[in-house]
Amino acid sequence: MDVVSVEHLSKSYGDVRVISDISFSVHQGEVLAIIGPSGSGKSTLLRAITHLETATSGTIAICGTRILDRGVYADGATLRSALLKLGLVFQDFNLFPHFSVLRNVTEAQVRVLRRGKAEAREVALALLEKMGLAGKASAYPCELSGGQKQRVSIARALALDPQVLLFDEPTSALDPELTGEILKVIRTLAAEKMTMVVVTHEMGFARDVADRAMLIDAGVIVEEGPARELIDNPRNERTRAFLKRFSQTGQE
């Protein structure tokens, strides 16, 4: 069964179509990279899947549960429980500043999954250790570097045992020297067969880590295929133009 399956998804703001009839699926254990120019609808697509934006029409299923069926959303309870299978990592972290690092990772476990405090703490500490943040549990987000904040937010998402982790440009708010530490974490997760969807401008990373890549431009999927092939030998003219522009202007 596909972890995420999207059929004929569209999203408009008034007359402007941001996503136009997009269909794709995310398979268990794969890493899918979504690339494309700024404003092409990549982020909106992730936000529509996670219900931060409401789609205009189409179908979205998460692990077989349709949260959106031909433009109609499921009831609140179905929606909530299905969305819990998704984890989302934001571009600008969105950590809770008034909580310690530890509590950022435990709070949803306790309040949402109803885990005991001790268990939540154990899960959180193990994840922080894995993210290389073992010594930072009692620190507050304002005391961390951007890269550390993003690793906390990955731990926070993982703590709820999502079936798939979605990344919305996870390195775009970071200094270049800090992007590496985030990409390393994603690489590690990929090696563990974590299902992931990564919206990214890091072409080299997408090529090396992702199994599949998808280029979105002007709200439609322009080309889709094995990541290495798509980035090294793009078939579509628009893909070629985008990648060429990318290698000329350098990395973002």
Partner: protein
């Protein structure tokens, strides 16, 4: 002299009662008012807007007179003056606090709500655990202003004959042909507000652990 000070102490207690009772009622009442003001429904928003407009747009002294005398003229019903003062102060201050809350709530970045939603928090949990604690930190300076003003505004209760600190001081002053009691009242107000400022400073320091 001793008798005068005793009377002023009693007046101070009345002022403090007005002060605390107003806070006890106005601080919570302001929260639904703030939500009403932010409501997407015009039907809710319009009356709340009007309420805030009137409360901020007319003198508190007039509102006190209105709350006390309107029931009398309309229904020939009279009631306790002190109660009238508390009602007028509460309704007035709730309007100001509501606007402070609204400013604080609207200053919380959208990303906080989005993160909470993606993590599965209920709307109530999102507000009370994620948003409100951050709002409290942000509105402390503005609230201190308002609370300090309240201490001084309690003097307006004398309008309908409630013997609070300033009224007592004025009476003593008239009896003794001396401004000393009024000066002493000034010192008492100052000391109360010094305590209020100190409390707010401490609260700010306590919440300074994050930014």
């Amino acid at each position: 002299m001793v008798k005068m000070l005793g009377a002023m102490l009693e007046g101070s207690l009345v002022s403090l009662e007005i002060f605390f009772l107003t806070l006890v009622f106005a601080l919570p009442l302001a929260l639904p008012v703030a939500f009403g003001r932010m409501s997407t429904s015009r039907l809710v928003r319009a009356p709340v807007n009007l309420y805030i407009l009137v409360m901020r747009g007319t003198p508190l002294i007039l509102q006190i007179l209105f709350v006390y005398f309107a029931p009398y003229y309309l229904f020939e019903a009279s009631y306790d003056r002190f109660t009238a003062v508390i009602v007028a102060f509460t309704v007035n201050y709730a309007a100001y606090f509501a606007e402070i809350y609204r400013g604080g709530i609207q200053s919380i970045p959208k990303g906080q709500y989005e993160a909470a939603k993606v993590l599965g928090f209920t709307r109530a949990d999102t507000f009370f655990r994620i948003v409100l604690p951050q709002v409290v930190k942000r509105i402390l300076p503005a609230s201190a202003n308002e609370v300090i003003t309240l201490v001084k505004d309690t003097a307006l209760a004398q309008t309908i004959g409630v013997a609070e600190l300033f009224r007592v001081a004025q009476n003593a002053s008239a009896r003794q042909f001396s401004t000393t009691p009024i000066f002493i009242a000034g010192v008492i107000y100052f000391v109360m507000n010094w305590a209020v400022s100190e409390l707010f400073l401490r609260a700010e320091r306590k919440l300074a652990y994050y930014s």
